[in-house]
């Protein structure tokens, strides 16, 4: 039993993808999920949401469940998403009426 418990903390051949995902959620890390695993993930239940910046929702990376590298969806924990949304909104507000300078 102790061996099984230890395996939850470090991804290895005995660790399932979902256990690794649980660990990431517990740590409130950003999640990169491939399309098939993004469909199964319920972000609200885990206090996650899509990245507020539209250009950061679709990324390339290794899925945190199956480790497949490719197009994926980026989720942020809601504690981090609040700050990201504020920054994104401020930038958008600036861009809307901005004077763009490239000398």
């Amino acid at each position: 039993m102790a061996d099984v418990k230890r395996a939850e903390f470090r991804r290895n051949r005995y660790t399932s993808g979902s256990a690794h995902l649980d660990d990431m959620i517990e740590l409130q890390k950003a999640l990169v999920l491939c399309d098939s695993h993004a469909m199964k993930f319920k972000p609200q239940a885990a206090h996650y949401e899509l990245h507020p910046a539209k250009n950061m929702r679709r990324v390339q990376g290794n899925c945190d469940v199956c480790q497949e590298c490719g197009a994926a969806t980026l989720f942020l924990h809601e504690s981090q998403a609040v700050d990201e949304r504020r920054k994104y909104d401020n930038y958008r507000r600036c861009s809307e009426y901005a004077h763009v300078v490239a000398n």
Binding site: R10, N62, C94
Partner: protein, 239 residues
């Protein structure tokens, strides 16, 4: 700093997780390739982004090196945007502390040819020649000009302002001259650009453009830039 896109024309961020060599408590900061005997990525400094790997998207948790009593994994990782030509937007701060309003320049007088004006702020120290003035209020509001030479409070331009500058007109001055500039100094937490420093000082960034907000020019203006010393752009020695 926030990811805005990629100079190659794509908009997709490429994210990889790397082990860190110190606690990364703030997301959106540049990280660098580890030294030869290092244990993981190291965080940039306000004046150096040499051999950058990218910019973080989350935090790492507390860095540990000792074996844990519950045998928990000791490796701490962080997600990093590794696109070498990623464009990041950095909010321009008026000092080393994040969110400081940019210095306000108020004109004391202006020349009748639109080629110079006297500010209430000395731009010789720190040296701001080759920076960019943006007019917040007055007849030239919403227009910018590159500061080509200066002498204490007298600001001189090669290209004239469209209308004469009058006493009381206000400006902000960014120490960047895109695409010429190759330095951006970072704020203390490494998330914004310290725009109070001299032109040409700071960490390695290639500036691409400036975005000045007309209504919130002092608190919500940005410099867009790429990491100018990125490990993915060329074969480089690691350390």
């Amino acid at each position: 700093m926030e990811y805005q896109g990629d100079l190659t024309g794509g908009s997709t961020a490429f994210i990889k997780r790397y082990q860190v060599a110190a606690t990364k408590a703030t997301a959106g900061v540049p990280v660098l390739v580890p030294a030869a005997a290092g244990s993981g990525l190291v965080v940039a400094t306000t004046t150096s982004t040499a051999k950058a790997v990218g910019v973080t998207i989350d935090t790492s948790g507390t860095y540990v090196t000792a074996q844990q009593t519950d045998n928990a994994d000791t490796a701490r990782t962080v997600g990093v945007i590794i696109n070498p030509f990623a464009v990041y937007s950095l909010l321009m701060s008026g000092g080393a502390t994040e969110g400081t309003a940019m210095v306000l320049h108020t004109a004391a007088s202006g020349a009748s040819d639109g080629l110079s004006f006297v500010s209430d702020v000395n731009t010789d120290s720190p040296e701001m020649a080759d920076g960019t003035f943006f007019c917040l209020s007055g007849a030239n509001a919403g227009i910018s000009r590159k500061l080509t030479s200066n002498s204490t409070t007298t600001q001189t331009f090669i290209v004239a302002w469209p209308r004469d500058i009058a006493a009381g007109d206000t400006f902000v001055l960014a120490p960047y001259d895109p695409p010429r500039g190759i330095k951006v100094q970072l704020t203390t937490l490494l998330t914004q650009a310290d725009s109070s420093i001299a032109v040409g000082t700071g960490a390695a960034f290639r500036t691409i453009e400036l975005k000045f907000s007309q209504h919130e020019g002092r608190t919500n203006s940005y410099v867009n830039a790429i990491l100018a010393n990125h490990v993915m752009t060329a074969v480089q020695a690691d350390a």
